[in-house]
Amino acid sequence: MMTLHQRVVQAKLVIDQQYDQPLSLDQLSDSAHFSKYHFLRLFRKLYKVTPHQYLTRKRIEAARQQLTHSDFSIADIGFRVGFQGVSHFNVTFRKWVGTYPTQYRENTRQQLEQAQTQPATVIPHCFAQSYCTTE
């Protein structure tokens, strides 16, 4: 027999694993075997955000990863993480992250490239001096 907590966690894990699908509150509350209202209330109580806010956060986190580490187009990434249209993706991304996806990709790739080619820009000198034995 699952506890209340376990049932809400179960629904959160559905979001974690299926955020790229068009998940509705009905589906999520059904997966946890709660009424919509009860599920919404319990989810907010446990995670301090609504299921929809959490779903958006997961999509944005996944988009940030893909923008940094993949070569998919902005539109493709939006669809791949569950947004229904590129303009919705752009607007939501900017609202959550502070920049548009294109700018974010450019900035993070620059930072990543700099870190790879000039590790001294990210590794504190005291660590490098103590733990790096070949340079």
């Binding site: 376990q6 446990l46 995670y47 870190a115 504190p124 790096c132 034995t133």
Partner: protein
């Protein structure tokens, strides 16, 4: 004056396995994974804490540790004598259930303390942490 802590170091037995644990079990972000010579700088952090990086440090001979030290530190890490820290959560019971379902080893279940509700768990090297829901949350 000191304004904040930006990096904290934690010895781990295997950096790849630790990266997998922190990213895929705890849901942390990998902030840096770069190498300088033979040193791999691997840092992770909770997604909601942008100004902290936890450095997952390899245990191998270097300017600080000799071969005997390495052996000793590895044993101490496995024993849980080296690392400890406190992670905050908005709900200890829910996070406990989730991490347990993902295979994280808990030392103690959620328990009421004077400062909130706390469970303790180990990472896959042996370092232990408190998972705390503060009273005010």
């Amino acid at each position: 004056m000191i304004t904040k802590m930006s990096h904290a170091a934690l010895y781990v037995l295997d950096q790849d396995e630790a990266k997998d644990f922190y990213a895929n079990k705890l849901g942390f972000e990998v902030r840096n994974d770069v190498t300088m010579g033979d040193f791999r700088w691997l840092t992770v952090a909770p997604p909601e804490q942008p100004d902290l990086e936890i450095t997952l440090m390899p245990i191998k001979p270097n300017h600080v540790l000799n071969d005997a030290d390495v052996k000793q530190v590895r044993e101490l890490v496995k024993k849980g004598a080296m690392g400890s820290g406190v992670f905050n959560t908005s709900n200890c019971q829910a996070t406990y259930e989730e991490l347990k379902a993902k295979g994280v080893e808990f030392i103690s279940p959620p328990t009421e303390r004077p400062y909130g509700i706390e469970a303790t768990f180990k990472d896959n090297s042996g370092n232990w942490f408190s998972l705390t829901q503060r009273l005010s949350q």
